[in-house]
């Protein structure tokens, strides 16, 4: 029985790992793009500055890109991931009588990865933004007066300082992601919890459900060691 349960949960681990790694793979770069968007200072109406008309004058200050990005980030971070999953997966069928997810070989997983990627990208964008803005302007200015190009300043001066600042909050978020994979069961993906729970119905035993904790702990433990190692690697400077 023990091996049967373990095997079944390991299968769930496979699903969870797929979700975890695909989410990381796509949400990290997307998060960086969103963070640039949220910091955009583009003011297309700035020529209207100083107009008599109060409305036009106000328009001059509007930064459309950062306003839109910040609103999206607010909505995504302000609603539960579980709700987002339900809307994305069941929404089209309920409201439009169409289920686009059938078009994919593994539609459930596809919808799930998509939702996770957008959700986590929003969280990551805030962390990245903190990292970028956390590098003192003096660093960039020092590079400038030394005749370095913008690219050189980014790669040789700011990037590593950014990474150092971003690693601790990122490791937190990534560890949360491990446990958030369990939300996938809401759209009937057999991840770890669902795999363990299924033995309650079929065999009337509860211990497999609690046994799943071991798998989460092992995975998070490995990640903790990894992040600890990365942080130590960058301990040589402040």
């Amino acid at each position: 029985m023990f091996w049967q349960v373990t095997l079944s949960i390991l299968k769930g681990c496979g699903e969870a790992a797929e979700l975890f790694f695909l989410t990381l793979l796509f949400s990290l770069p997307l998060g960086l793009v969103i963070s640039f968007g949220s910091m955009s200072k583009w003011t297309p109406f700035r020529k209207l500055y100083g107009r008599q008309n109060r409305f036009l004058h106000g328009l001059a200050r509007i930064r459309p890109i950062s306003t839109i990005t910040n609103t999206v980030v607010w909505i995504i971070r302000g609603t539960p991931l579980m709700l987002q999953l339900i809307i994305v997966f069941y929404g089209p069928g309920m409201w439009f009588d169409a289920n686009p997810w059938n078009l994919f070989a593994d539609g459930r997983m596809f919808a799930c990865v998509l939702t996770f990627v957008v959700n986590y990208a929003c969280y990551f964008s805030v962390i990245f933004r903190g990292g970028i803005e956390g590098v003192p302007v003096g660093q960039r200015e020092a590079g400038q007066v030394l005749g370095m190009t913008k690219t050189q300043i980014f790669f040789k001066v700011t990037l590593l300082q950014m990474i150092k600042q971003v690693v601790p909050p990122m490791s937190n978020e990534i560890i949360t992601l491990v446990k958030d994979t369990s939300l996938a069961r809401i759209i009937a993906i057999t991840e770890i919890i669902k795999a363990g729970e299924s033995f309650m119905k079929s065999d009337g035993i509860t211990w497999p459900l609690f046994y799943t904790a071991v798998f989460y702990l092992a995975f998070v433990g490995a990640l903790t060691l990894l992040f600890g190692w990365i942080e130590r690697k960058m301990d040589y400077f402040r």
């Binding site: 003096g138 660093q139 400038q144 007066v145 030394l146």
Partner: protein, 261 residues
Amino acid sequence: MAILEVRNIEKHFGATRVLEDISFELERGQALAIIGSSGSGKTTLLRCLNFLETPDQGSISVEGSVIFDAADPATQKESELRKKRLHFGMVFQSFNLFPQYTALENVTLAVKLLAKERQDYKQNKNRILAEIEDEGKALLERMGLSDRADHYPHQLSGGQQQRVAIARALALHPDILCFDEPTSALDPELTGEVLKVIRSLADQKTTMIIVTHEMAFARDVADQVIFMDGGVIVEQGPAKEVIDNPKQERTRQFLSRYAEN
């Protein structure tokens, strides 16, 4: 001919005018001290010279050629700005050393990056890099820091960090070296070692502009002094004259506040 000519510089931040009609000249090998109360625009002036801010009006010439003219967009091309900055070196109040590099790496980083643009870089790479290393070490030695070359900034005292920053600026051989209150962020017992280095640079006829609150130092080391107040130059002239016998009432008031302390 003056190495630096600044003509009618004006700078606004939004609606506030921070610099107004700033004009002065600096001869090669001379040291110019800029004094003035807080908020008088000293930092902004140095930042304009280093193109960290763009003046709204006026022109800047180095060795007779106009490198910036607010009225002439051709002098403001982003692509050339980077090269023009190299006429000036800048030492910041807060050092701004790169924390992830050792003292020596801080000094050599920009020089190495710049060397990549040389025609003969590929052929002579090893020789060029070795020369840069040697010069970096020599500069640190001049700053009295030869035993600190492999230390990271956080392992150095404030005075040592500022001396590394001075070596870093010197490594690019600027025509004019600018200091923005180089000792203001230092404990009193550490200011001496930095001032000593700047004094020795003056003895070696380095062309410098030094924003400072150290009046005695300005009087001894600088050839010229500019007193600024409210964004304008109130008085300028030979250092000892301005500090010992100021002609303007505002300069007198400012200096007497220092005499009291």
